[in-house]
Amino acid sequence: MNIRFKSRNMEVLRLQQQLIELTNSLFQEGFLDDQFTQIQMLQDEGNPDFVQEVVGLFAEDSERILSELTKALEMEPVDFKKVDAYVHQFKGSSSSIGAQRVKAVCVDFRAYAETENKEGCLQALQQIKQEFFAVKSKLEALLQLEQQILAAGGSVPMME
């Protein structure tokens, strides 16, 4: 991995190291995929907070969908078409941000919804919530770290 540094400041260096490790772990553990890198690449002078914006959108949208899903699954009888549509949406947004673990659970979830397996759906919902909050917290940590780096006068290293 080639890492470009702009600042030799030790603090920045440490933070950058931390950021790289965090990013790497996110990729290695499968929380994120290339799509996220693409999003990162879309961030430039014209859109300085693009990533943050997108992550925010994602979190907002996902929380909305999750609450809708929870509601839909509490209904009796469960409208699996509706559930499926929500999960589909969720899958779209998670894949667009590159949250691939969430996406993977979405795939399972849809399978359950298609077979109208309520038990499975509930399980998947639980799992999806877990995954979502995990990735959300990771992303927030990541963004925070980036902020810190920027605050410390460094630049965010790009993963090549």
């Binding site: 693409q38 859109n47 693009f50 914006e53 997108v54 779209g92 667009s96 941000i97 795939v107």
Partner: protein, 1368 residues
């Protein structure tokens, strides 16, 4: 009689019911134990059932049924065994066997307790009903027949007896009654006589005797007529056997001389001879007729008859009495006499009495007329005295004792009957006409019927009795009635048993059928459920395709990237290569499994596009020739000419066709250890027999032309007509049937497995050690795909029975849009297409796009122009190839044959050899042929094609050494001729004309046994001899195993190497040879090709083949195919991945065949330079390339992003794009991405809004364009763009309010009115082919998967807008 029936019925019924209640058959058999019968019966049935079970056990579908019936067996068996144990009887053998076996069977099965079985109940009910019916029937029949019979018989019998009785009575009566009137009239007559005539003996003689005699003579002789005087006078006429006698008393017992009143009265106890000696009786024989005495009068002792009680009582009675007793005249005689008093004066003082008696024998005689065999008729008095008897003993009764009672008769029959009747006599005597009947009185062991009735005679009552043996009346009737009953019962029993059996059978049949049906229904339901389940699974599986393949594709791409970094021979490099092959294998396996699951899920759809079938096949063959040459197997492609012409441009799913070929070829290569694998192809005219029944796979498995035609039944009919009409030609030119054969020389497949190999997961060697890897899915997929394309695949016999290997034959149906005109490489249309492909490919992959692209364009165009020019040349000039000789030195029989066939069809003379040593002698022969054709013909050395073929086969048979030896003799043989020819040519200029022959050597590198260097120089020498006489060209064939140094060496040989081709030789490569030939025979500028060929081929540093124009062409078509691959195989995948994959493939292509594009183009520009110089420039080029690649590659794993950024920073500049997307994140992302590319973006989040916006702009722009004041989008837009408010719409398919499909339809409908069409690109998260179809059907122009990948988007944009987008 009634008694008898009354007795039998209850017994019958009572013996029946217990049987029914046991639920067994109605086997009601008297005297047998019903339980025993029951157990027999059950034994029989259960045995049967076990048989049935065994038969059924084979059928797995009936497993449930079997279990149920086993329960039955079990139950019945339990019953039986319980009974056996309970009774302790010797069990029936069959039953015990059966029960034992049942027990055995049952013990091996779980048994779920005795349940109440409705079947058993109904069965018992039916049996019971049947039994009741049978019994009723039997009883009724019996009663009706037997009782009626008995009654009628008994009626007849009683009447008969009665008549008999009456008759005998009447007879007796008549006999007696005859006497009565005589006695009455006699009495009356005597009473009229004077008293003295009655009181004196003389008077009596005078008056009474004649009257008595008269009566006597009137009456039967047997009678006895007597007049008893009150004073002892007597006159009696009687008869016996000896004659008629008159008995009379001489005087009154009173002394006659004494005066009146002085008589001696009769004292009690007096002895007449002592006290009254004067009183004498005399007996005198008389004449029968006259009554005169004819004999002497004998004195008999008198009997004091006046003292007789009967006489006294008769004297006192009014009318007289009748009595039975000894005669008062002759004590020897017993008489039945009628006595009537004669009163002359005072009625109180009778003068005497008249007696008319009938002697006993005479009565007997009367009765004796009735003879009853074994019976008796007798008369008795009320007191029981036997009077007369007839019947059994007809002898005259000797009645000595008048007091003899009938009960004491000697005749046991009479005595028995009398004994029984005695007490009843008083009752009998009171009866009138009816008779007293006793039935079945047993006397001495025999049953008799007795009838007796009274016989009233004057005063006396007699009893007449008829005794008849019972059997004489009832005998037969009785016996037959028993037999009838027995038969009836037996019949009923049999019917019962049979009926029960049938009931059992029927109920069993019905219940079995019901069970079967139930099982079937259950099975069907389960099957349905299983199918749904499996469908779901398959669906999920198929849906997971993109998730599974994405990481693999990424891995492959990454490995490729790393490979390009790693040095070629390092350990890392080899490891990476290994990784790559593993990953490729994995992808292959995954793909095949996914294909299978897709096919199962019915999700596979052919993605039809127009493609070059020939080049597709050639690519596949190329791929496998590498594998094959490593393994030492020859791979050959053998296409018929018609095939190349017609099928080169067809519509179909190129990816799937390639997959089929690849599967079959890899299969062939895998299982072939040595020999060859040949792929043959030819056009097959449509015939009725050629395709499978169309209706069975209507529309589903047929390619598009058929499936569309088959949508409606009328179409179907049309099609059938069409198919039937098809005989020789394709009818409407829009479909073509191609037949293929894949022929290998492997170990083959046993004939019995020919069908099963096409099943999924079947490998021939499943049992043995796994020598061959694979999933066993290959052939299954192949078959499914072949069927999908409207064909069928089968294994067929080889030409010769013993030949090893397998031959698959299958046919595919392709569409072709146009009439298949003579397609050729010069076809401008196609060329342009390829050019376009090539160009867009370069753009798409963006390899050095900025730097290379312009040059590439111009150069490639130039190259293509040249090529088309060449092609035109070739086409225009008719070949003059008669005198071209081709020396084909090639290893591999199959390939050789293919090439030879191809060349011979074109009229070339082919000499095929298989080893290097043969080259020299063959060359010599060719020379002779060319120079001395006349001699050869005159000497009958036919050089024409047939000879060559013989020669060829000859070579095939013998190895090189043999050949050499033969050639030697041949040489010496011809030496003279050649010499002669040389001499002739030298001496005669006419004969030594400019030789017309041309020589083309096609030499396979692998035939060279020594080093290439020495071989080349050898060849050089050989050719040098004839070079001045015979123009020649040399084509070298290399394969994947050829060391690159050899290739390099060959390239440097300008003289002995004109063209290097890769094996296998197939149509397009042979075209190169053909071109070379045309060049050789002078149909085209000589030096142009000479200049080009080495240059361009030398550009191929390692092994990419082909001559100049074709190298470019091949590389382009190759890449275009890659692109097609990418498009078709991965269109259902994430397009971004597709981008990576395509890029990876492109990169791999570059690394495998480096500097194809970049190098060939500069070379093209430097055309005309020497080959050596080109070689020297080559390293630079390659360096340049690698450095440029180094620039690109290390930056980021996502090259496409970089590339797209590089190449299209402003790719969408000036475009106004509408993004319809409900997901805010995606919306944001898409916007950012598009803005980066220079577009202006407007976002909406539902379809309705999108449609509204588009249409709003549409109207607006319509207005504004008419006013010519559209300033919004006019910057760089073309005129067409002016009237388009949005350059493009990115439409998410699933949105709230109005989804993408509907929105698109709405837009399209509206747009149609204005005649414009805004490009709409669908964005969808679905990744299946049918989604794409749906999108296209909805009116969208392109289809991208989410998340949006810039590379794919730009590809789509460039497709939609043509090349204009790249260079705005």
């Amino acid at each position: 009689m009634n008694d008898a029936t009354g007795e039998s019925s209850p017994t019958c019924i009572s013996s029946c019911w217990p049987v029914f209640s046991l639920g067994s058959t109605a086997s009601q058999v008297r005297g047998r134990n019903p339980d025993t019968i029951f157990s027999y019966d059950l034994g029989l049935l259960s045995e049967k059932q076990v048989d049935v079970d065994t038969a059924w056990a084979t059928s797995s579908i009936l497993a449930d049924v079997e279990k149920a019936s086993m329960n039955d067996v079990r139950r019945t068996t339990n019953n039986v065994t319980a009974k056996e144990e309970g009774e302790g009887d010797a069990p029936d053998e069959g039953t015990s066997n059966c029960s034992a076996c049942c027990r055995e069977r049952v013990s091996s099965r779980p048994f779920c307790g005795v349940m109440w079985n409705p079947l058993l109940t109904s069965r018992l009910g039916l049996m019971g009903l049947l039994a009741v019916l049978l019994v009723i029937m039997t009883v009724l029949t019996w009663i009706l027949t037997s009782i009626n019979l008995q009654q009628s018989v008994s009626l007849v019998a009683s009447k008969y007896r009665h008549q008999m009785l009456l008759h005998s009575r009447d007879k007796a009566d008549a006999a007696f009654r005859n006497n009565n009137p005589s006695s009455v009239s006699l009495t009356t007559f005597l009473a009229s006589l004077k008293q003295d005539s009655l009181s004196s003996a003389d008077g009596m003689h005078a008056k009474v005797a004649p009257a008595l005699f008269l009566v006597f003579s009137v009456l039967s002789r047997r009678a006895c007529v007597t007049f008893f005087g009150s004073t002892g006078l007597l006159i009696s006429y009687a008869a016996d056997e000896s004659g008629t006698y008159l008995t009379y008393a001489n005087r009154s017992y009173l002394y006659p001389s004494l005066p009146q009143g002085a008589e001696l009265p009769w004292m009690e106890g007096e002895v007449i001879s002592d006290t009254r000696p004067w009183y004498q009786w005399y007996r005198q024989r008389i004449d029968d007729a006259t009554g005169y005495p004819i004999g002497e009068a004998l004195s008999v002792s008198p009997i004091p008859f006046w003292d007789d009680k009967v006489l006294k009582s008769s004297l006192q009675s009014l009318n007289g009495v009748a009595d039975w007793g000894p005669s008062l005249v002759d004590s020897q005689q017993v008489l039945f006499a009628y006595l009537s008093p004669v009163r002359t004066g005072q009625p109180s003082d009778p003068q005497g009495a008249v007696s008319i008696g009938i002697p006993a024998p005479n009565i007997n005689y009367l009765l004796g007329d009735f003879s009853v065999e074994g019976g008796a008729i007798f008369l008795t008095t009320i007191q029981g005295h036997l009077i007369a008897q007839a019947g059994r003993s007809l002898q005259v009764l000797k009645v000595n004792n008048t007091n003899e009672l009938a009960s004491q008769s000697e005749n046991s029959l009479i005595s028995g009957a009398a004994q029984y009747l005695m007490p009843h006599f008083p009752y009998i005597s009171t009866l009138e006409d009816e008779s007293f009947t006793v039935n079945k009185l047993e006397i001495e062991g025999i049953q008799y019927t007795i009838d007796s009735g009274p016989l009233h005679l004057a005063g006396a009552t007699l009893v007449c009795t008829v005794v008849l043996p019972y059997s004489s009346i009832w005998g037969l009737t009785q016996r037959w009635s028993h037999i009838t009953l027995a038969v009836l019962v037996a019949l009923a029993t049999t019917m019962g048993i049979v009926g029960c059996f049938f009931v059992k059978l029927l109920t069993k049949g019905v219940s079995n059928e019901m069970r079967l049906r139930a099982a079937l229904i259950q099975q069907l339901e389960e099957t349905k459920r299983a199918e749904t389940k499996s469908n779901h699974k398959s669906l999920v599986f198929a849906n997971m395709s993109h998730d599974l393949r994405t990481p693999l594709a990424a891995i492959l791409g990454l490995i490729d990237l790393c490979l390009s970094d790693a040095s070629e021979f390092s350990e890392l490099g080899s490891n990476l290569l290994q990784m790559k092959s593993c990953a490729t294998n994995l992808l292959g396996i995954l793909n095949s499994i996914l294909d299978m699951s897709k096919i199962e899920a019915g999700k596979i759809l052919l993605q039809d596009s127009e493609f070059d079938l020939v080049s597709a096949l050639e690519e596949v063959i190329d791929t496998f020739s590498v594998v094959g040459s490593k393994k030492g197997i020859e791979i050959a492609l053998d296409l018929s000419d018609g095939f190349v012409e017609k099928a080169s441009w067809v519509i179909g799913d190129v990816g799937r066709v390639k997959q089929i070929m690849a599967n079959l070829l890899s299969n062939g290569v895998k299982f072939t250890a040595e020999g060859h694998v040949v792929l043959r192809g030819w056009i097959k005219p449509f015939g009725i027999s050629c395709s499978r029944p169309l209706s069975s796979h209507r529309g589903k498995f047929l390619p598009w032309p058929w499936s569309q035609m088959l949508r409606s039944p009328s179409r179907d009919k049309e099609l059938r007509k069409l198919i039937q009409g098809l005989s020789e030609k394709v009818p409407d030119d829009n479909s073509i049937q191609v037949e293929f054969e894949v022929d290998d020389t492997g170990r083959g497949i046993p004939k019995e497995r020919w069908k099963s190999v096409f099943e999924n997961f079947v490998q021939i060697d499943s049992s043995g050690p796994r020598n061959y890897d694979g999933t066993g899915l290959g052939l299954g997929i192949v078959r499914s795909l072949v069927r999908l394309m409207g064909g069928d695949i089968k294994i067929i016999d080889k030409d010769e029975p013993g030949e090893p290997g397998t031959r698959f034959r299958f046919n595919l149906i392709f569409g072709c849009k146009r009439k298949p005109v003579k397609q050729s490489y010069g076809d401008c249309d196609k060329q342009e297409l390829r050019l376009q492909d090539g160009a867009s490919l370069q753009e798409a992959f963006g390899v050095n796009a900025n730097s290379v692209s312009p040059r590439c364009h111009s150069e490639s165009k130039e190259a293509f122009g040249l090529m088309s020019n060449m092609e035109h040349n070739r086409l225009d000039s008719p070949p003059t190839m008669e005198c071209v000789h081709i020396l084909l030195a090639m290893q591999g029989q199959a390939g050789r044959k293919v090439v030879k066939k191809w060349m011979e069809r074109r009229g070339l003379h082919v000499w095929t050899i298989a080893s290097w040593e043969e080259i020299m002698p063959t060359l010599k022969r060719i020379k002779r042929e060319v120079f001395c054709p006349s001699f050869n013909t005159s000497e009958n050395f036919d050089h024409k094609i047939p000879e060559c073929q013989i020669y060829d086969s000859w070579i095939d048979d013998f190895d090189g050494k043999n050949f050499a030896r033969d050639e030697l003799t041949y040489d010496t043989h011809l030496q003279g001729l050649v010499n002669y020819a040389d001499a002739a040519s030298a001496s005669n200029l006419n004969l030594c004309r400019q030789p017309q022959g041309h020589l083309l050597l096609v030499i396979d590198v692998s035939v060279i046994v020594t080093t290439l260097n020495s071989s080349c120089s050898q060849l050089d020498d050989m050719l040098a001899e004839s070079a001045d006489l015979l123009p020649f060209r040399v084509v070298w064939l290399v394969n994947a195993n050829t060391p690159s140094s050899d290739v390099q060496f060959l390239k440097r040989q300008s003289k002995t190497c004109n063209l290097i081709l890769h094996k296998p030789l197939y149509a397009s490569r042979l075209k190169c040879v053909w071109d070379l030939l045309q060049d050789l025979v002078g149909n085209r500028p000589h030096d142009s090709i000479q200049a080009e060929a080495p240059h361009l081929s030398s550009g191929n540093r390692e092994k990419v083949d082909l001559s100049a124009p074709n190298s470019l062409y091949t590389s382009l078509s190759c890449m275009s195919t890659f692109r097609q691959d990418a498009g078709s195989l991965h269109s259902n995948l994430d397009t971004r991945t597709c981008g990576i994959h395509a890029h990876a493939l492109a990169m791999r292509n570059l690394s495998d065949a480096p500097n194809l594009l970049p190098v060939s183009i500069p070379i093209g520009s430097e055309m005309g330079k020497q080959a050596d110089q080109m070689d020297s420039t080559h390293p630079e080029n390659s360096d340049q390339i690698s450095s440029s690649r180094v620039d690109v590659v290390p930056h980021r794993s996502l090259d496409n992003t970089v590339n797209s950024r590089n190449r299209s920073q402003n790719a969408l500049l000036g475009m106004h794009i509408l993004v319809a997307e409900d997901n805010p994140i995606l919306q944001r992302l898409a916007k950012t991405q598009l803005v980066r590319l220079g577009a202006t973006v407007q976002c909406v989040d539902n379809g309705a809004e999108a449609a509204r916006l588009v249409l709003e702009y549409l109207y607006k722009s319509r207005v504004s364009s008419s006013e010519d004041s559209d300033g919004k989008l006019s910057d760089e837009s073309t005129n067409a763009k002016k009237i388009r408010p949005f350059s493009m719409v990115l439409m998410d398919c699933e949105m709230p309010i109005l989804n993408g499909y509907e929105a698109t339809q709405r837009i399209r409908n509206e747009e149609n009115r204005y005649g414009i069409r805004t490009p709409i690109i669908a964005l969808t998260a679905h990744a299946m082919a049918q989604d794409e179809k749906k999108c296209i059907e909805a009116g969208m122009d392109f289809y991208l998967t989410k998340p949006l990948a810039i590379g794919a988007l730009l590809d789509a944009v460039s497709k939609i807008f043509g090349r204009s987008v790249e260079a705005p």
